[in-house]
């Protein structure tokens, strides 16, 4: 499914954080989100939607939504946050999960509510911290968090198209489940040896389908910005696509999971690659296999 957004939802601010996460994932994300809001000079009271896309919840929390814990911490940090008199407030917080690709779907949801005028600002956050409860098998991700603030902009088109495709024939390639065994809770992560290859193939196919449907080509993409995971994805994608277009992701000695795309967004903004581009294709690939694209027009 893809569509064209009528008005521009643009990136206002991004923050990332791979500090120690002793106080838990919700606190780490909230600190990051607070910095993101401060960078933009926006009060939490002005945000209409807060979506958390982190895959792993704090100590296997099932309810409430982790976003509401983050919401609470943001309010604690901003005691002056304004609430309209006689109303409940205007912020809806919830979690959106789609493996490592939830960020793009969350951007799509927020773009919808911004376009319809129901909200002015959307705050999308993410983060993963190894759960402290129970045993954990094959969890290799670094503690990390990221946040992006988006809002409407009349002078820039911003996010103009989204597309997500799934390849359930590879749903067993990467899985993460809890199991009850030996009298305790185990988090079991599994990744097949084929995952990287299949992720690259699925991404290439989805991009081609997107181009075919939208009558676009590589000439219409100045930069591809992808999530870091799976490691080696960018190199293999470049080989597969055989293109000269620049493909960029966050490069570091840590493995970032659900915040990967926001780390890469932050990277291209810091390196000033973002402002020199007009058309950026944001890409995530994750469990499912699910490939999500967001096509961004950065033109003034």
């Amino acid at each position: 499914m893809e569509y064209q957004s009528d008005m521009g939802t643009v990136i206002r601010s991004i923050a990332i954080n791979n500090a120690s996460a002793e106080s838990g994932v919700a606190t780490l994300i909230a600190e990051t989100a607070d910095r993101c809001l401060q960078n933009a000079g926006v009060d939490i009271g002005a945000v209409g939607m807060l979506i958390n896309t982190g895959v792993y919840t704090e100590n296997h929390l099932l309810e409430p939504a982790s976003a509401t814990l983050i919401h609470r911490r943001l309010l604690d940090k901003n005691k002056q946050a304004k609430r309209k008199s006689g109303s409940l407030g205007n912020l809806l917080s919830f979690d959106l999960h789609n493996g490592g690709g939830g960020i793009v779907n969350a951007l799509q949801v927020v773009d919808g509510f911004i376009s319809s005028g129901e909200i002015e600002y959307g705050l999308i956050v993410s983060g993963d911290v190894k759960p402290k409860i129970g045993k954990v098998e094959n969890y290799k991700y670094s503690s990390s968090a990221a946040a992006v603030l988006v809002s409407k902009e009349k002078s820039k088109p911003g996010f103009i198209k989204f597309k997500t495709e799934t390849f359930p024939e590879f749903k067993e390639n990467i899985t993460s489940t809890t199991r009850w065994k030996d009298g305790g809770l185990h988090l079991v992560n599994k990744k097949s040896n084929d995952y990287l290859k299949n992720a690259v193939d699925c991404a290439a196919k989805t991009i081609q389908n997107f181009f075919d449907e939208e009558l676009l080509g590589w000439k219409d993409v100045d930069l591809i910005c992808t999530s870091q995971n799976p490691l080696g994805f960018v190199t293999e994608l470049q080989k597969k696509l055989k293109i000269k277009n620049k493909i960029v992701c966050f490069q570091g000695d840590i493995e970032i999971y659900s915040s990967g795309l926001l780390y890469s967004m932050n990277h291209i903004i810091e390196k000033e690659e973002f402002k020199n581009c007009v058309y950026v294709l944001f890409l995530t690939v994750g469990a499912g296999i699910t490939v999500s694209l967001a096509y961004y027009n950065n033109k003034l």
Binding site: L96, Q108, T178
Partner: protein, 349 residues
Amino acid sequence: MNYGCNIESIGIKLPDRKLSTSEIESRLNIANPLKLELLTGISNRRVCCENEDSLTLAVDAALDCLSHSELKAEELEMIISCSISKYVNGLSHCYEPALSLLIKQEIGNSKALNFDVSNACAGMITGVHIANNFIKQGRIKNCLVVSGEYISGLIGNAIKTVDSLFHPEMASLTVGDAGAAVILTQTKRGEAGLSVSEISTLGRFSHLCTGVQSNNCKGGIMKTNMKKIHDLSIKNAPYVVENALRSAGLRMSEIDYLIPHQTAKISIQSGARVLYRYFNEEPGEIVYNLCETGNTASTTHFATLYKYLCEKRFKAGDTVMLLSFASGLTFGAIVFSMNGISERYGNSN
């Protein structure tokens, strides 16, 4: 908004196995009976058997929904799974892939945009809120919002510890398993359908009800500060309803059916009294659907709608308000008018 949005069909799945409140009470290690059935209005709840879990409940509800729909599975453009519990293959919680992907595959759809939303008992209401926005803008023509809740594991764990009505795990004794699904479709702008969808979160109170997977016992633990949540719900209910009525351009007396989140009879009655005092008038009916299913978390509103549809209670043109109170704390209201759906479930009244 360029289009309207309509509830096109609803489906549910209830496990066959029943667990009575009297059986639960008999297993509590306390001297004086709690009179749970009297307080909650819950006589029975359904609980999963072997081979049933959150995924199977959601898939069966989605298939039931499709059986009442004019759409085929392959025509669905968006699928949002809203379960709190994401148990697959028994009590194995699935972090990834997304439950919505597994549901999509099981029902035979390949192209829909799918993702999972988690917002406690407001999950399906949040899913409908998102679908309504996408449909009314013309981004999609239809959406399946679905949830499967396998939460009866909470009961066994609570039985071991509950010693009074005020115990933090008391609310766990009221839950039951269920799956529910709703298909929303696009209509012409101005046509009868879903007119209001409003949800907000009072994040300051997110700590008042928490459910976790536990390392000490299989099936999870839920702890609730029932009194504080009840007080906040009672305090805020008039605002939620008033805002929704204002947006819909309706009076309270013009709501034919008000369906609150189904927690306990005593709580719903208390809320009804507060609303009456505030508005000085009543809706046609405040709906209880607790007796045979208990609190089925995110599925309660649509399980209740389904029951009333099957009992031929609705007629075309009836106005319904779904009122949501959930951990978070999340408050929301959805207002819609009954149209073709009441006939398709056999109502000729």
